[in-house]
Assembly symmetry: C2
Homo-oligomer: 430 residues x 2
């Protein structure tokens, strides 16, 4: 073939992102200039080739046989955009084991099976790139793993899910309930019919696992990430948070302490002057921190076909350049899963507590005493009388989760506390 010198690409999947990738890969001259060799889509596999598509793919290229793509000798780079665990996992292991390089946007697969995929890539000398798995078109994986390789990063704090950030932004700005804001997100096409993957934090947890793996150079899996969703946040929480100088965001947080990794996704109060406090609507942002570099923030539109496709094509071109130069793939992440994960009970942060208490003299002293008995100290208090019941809003100083759980037990046993309306972690010092 005339273009056997070309880098052959096989696409698995031709949905919104896949169609954009296919379109971008038609600009042959620009690709050849950027890669040093022609880059040609040889095969595209979809479940139903007869369905109408956003792009027109020649009959000889479009098919339904994914296995053929991961085994064909004319394919050098397998681009996986089908999502989910199977058959993506089997296809990619097969591709990597036969020395093909892989570009994938599959966060769920990487978070669940990254260890075996990286190990297979390493042992085959194949490249495994995944910029598009986190943050859509925002460059994150390469800047963190390459540009910041000497920066000894200690913490990552991200708004990694656009749907939940849209919902929380609407709740904050319009005073809507969670349910109304979710309905609006659905109307705008942000939320899936089953929104659990977004609102319960699964999507953000998978992305955090990937970022932490890259930043800390040790495997962090989706299951290593503690996770709480946003459905229990109420409009009243936003009002009290704001009075105390905070917004509320679904944060994905990872830190490393002497080799032990802390990783969690949950709603959090954020001081209004925090770099992530004002990230609006469906935008994503990631704050990375290290003693040498201070705080660096990357932000942008974290999803969408076109931005995600630019990240996929950026990866394809990076791999193509390596292949053109004869460079073998090499993982910067250590082998194995021996990462020590800090149990959530040991995680130390300030807490926001919203309580309903009986409104009579001496009650507040009893609440404060109960908290103090667990060695938790109070940073600020707002109390609002509402007839027979008062609302007491407290923000504590740093306290371990296990102490806050005992505080709640004590408060419930007091008799004067009618209800603990909400307990929300605070990010950043109070």
């Amino acid at each position: 073939m005339g273009d056997r010198q070309a880098i052959g690409v096989g696409l698995l999947g031709l949905g919104t992102v896949g169609a954009e990738v296919y379109r971008l890969l038609q600009d042959g001259d620009a690709l050849a200039r950027a890669a040093g060799r022609p880059v040609v889509v040889k095969r595209v596999a979809v479940a139903r080739p007869d369905r109408p598509r956003q792009v027109s793919v020649p009959a000889g290229v479009l098919g339904s046989n994914g296995l053929e793509i991961v085994t064909s000798p004319e394919i050098d780079i397998v681009v996986e955009l089908i999502g989910g665990i199977e058959p993506a996992r089997s296809y990619l292991l097969r591709a990597l084991s036969s020395g093909k390089s892989v570009v994938t946007a599959n966060k769920a697969l990487l978070a669940a099976h990254g260890v075996e995929l990286f190990a297979q890539a390493e042992s085959s000398g194949a490249h495994l790139y995944f910029e598009a798995s986190v943050g859509g078109g925002i460059p994150l994986i390469k800047p963190i793993s390459e540009s910041l390789v000497a920066a000894r990063l200690q913490a990552i704090t991200g708004i990694l899910n656009g749907t939940t950030n849209f919902i929380l932004t609407r709740m904050a700005h319009e005073g809507w309930s969670f349910e109304d804001a979710l309905a609006e997100a659905r109307r705008r096409g942000f939320a899936e019919a089953d929104p659990a993957d977004d609102v319960d934090g699964h999507d953000a947890a998978a992305k955090l696992a990937i970022l932490a793996t890259v930043a800390f150079r040790r495997h962090v899996r989706g299951v290593d990430v503690y996770r709480e969703g946003i459905s229990r946040i109420t409009p009243r929480d936003f009002i009290y948070a704001k009075e105390l100088g905070f917004g509320i965001k679904l944060l994905a947080i990872a830190r490393i302490h002497d080799g032990e990794v802390e990783a969690r996704v949950h709603p959090a109060l954020v001081p209004l002057d925090h770099p992530l406090a004002l990230v609006p609507d469906e935008f994503n942002a990631v704050l990375v921190e290290g003693a040498d570099v201070g705080r660096i923030v990357f932000s942008g539109r974290g999803a969408g076909g076109a931005p995600t496709a630019t990240a996929v094509v950026g990866d394809i071109l990076a791999v193509a350049r390596h292949l053109a130069a004869g460079v073998r793939g090499r993982s910067l992440i250590g082998a194995g899963t021996g990462t020590r994960v800090r149990p959530i009970e040991d995680v130390v942060v300030p807490y926001f507590l919203s309580l309903q208490v009986i409104d009579r003299p001496g009650v507040f002293a009893r609440v404060a005493a109960a908290i103090g008995e667990e060695q938790v100290s109070i940073a600020s208090i707002v109390q609002k009388s509402r007839g027979e019941v008062a609302e007491a809003i407290l923000v504590t100083h740093d306290a371990p989760e296990r102490a806050i759980r005992r505080v709640q037990d004590r408060l419930r046993a007091l008799g004067v506390v009618k209800a603990i309306s909400n307990v929300i972690r605070v990010e950043g010092s109070v």
Copy 2:
């Protein structure tokens, strides 16, 4: 030698950044893991080797002979941290022509002589890396040139100089004059004894030239960047800007229109909801825009020894990986200087005009008519009577610079305009 397999590094310069780089390069195990081969500092050249240093360098390594570093066969990567044009230019051309790779933080040199340096690197197959030349530790060059290679970027808007951003932040928050804010910047060690490089926009213009070259893949030189400094901005400008919903920043802006590049550094009104409006103090931020990716922002501490050193070491490791894999350097930037630069007279933006007019009936109609005669339309007006003289603050819609110059001539000829206090470009739609 036992470590001839090692990548040999020669350092030119051992100031604040150089000392941090030297310190980071002592962590041999981590470097070897990241680079795939040992990375060893073989030589350091400084003007006065007898001066006390922040790091202790063995006598056999520290010397004063820069030429020896760029010619020695044991040096594979020359790291240039001396700054300025000569002798840096001659050293780096010599190093590149003998096939050594170069890592530099020298923005002034790249902005003035990038064309010949890139050409020499290309023809020698050497690597030329310069992440630390813009934005300190914020990853910009690689994310823009590699991760966003498929994003067809159309615009860059940056806060690229920390000193001027610190000064403007103090003026905005404290109502200080330019002179007082500059004095405070000096006290804090941000501003040099001769602050012209910062406050007149030279530093930002050099950085913008580098970013535009990388983003648009064609050479943009420092002299191609139109430049105005911040010394004429007054506390009153901040007050009026804020009333109209704007902050004031020193922006570095580059756009590409059908192959023609627009590049300029000047103070600008920015809407308060613009991603760069709230970048505080000495921080830097860069907004890149492309139709496919939307707006992506990178922000962080744009200077300082430690952050800049992490960027230099990131580059050294990237080059070391390439050398270990036997990859030749290849420039993604086209050859030659044939970039068409749009003259500032043809640049179209909205303008903020602050006028002192005689306070009597009919004056404002004459001002508005004079502006309309140049086909410039007015977006908003604030008028403040101050006795015999009123201040008239106008923001126009988009208008070419040449029209705004004619507007000023007309206003001066009117008789009723006592003074044009300031004319400031506006960034973002009004």
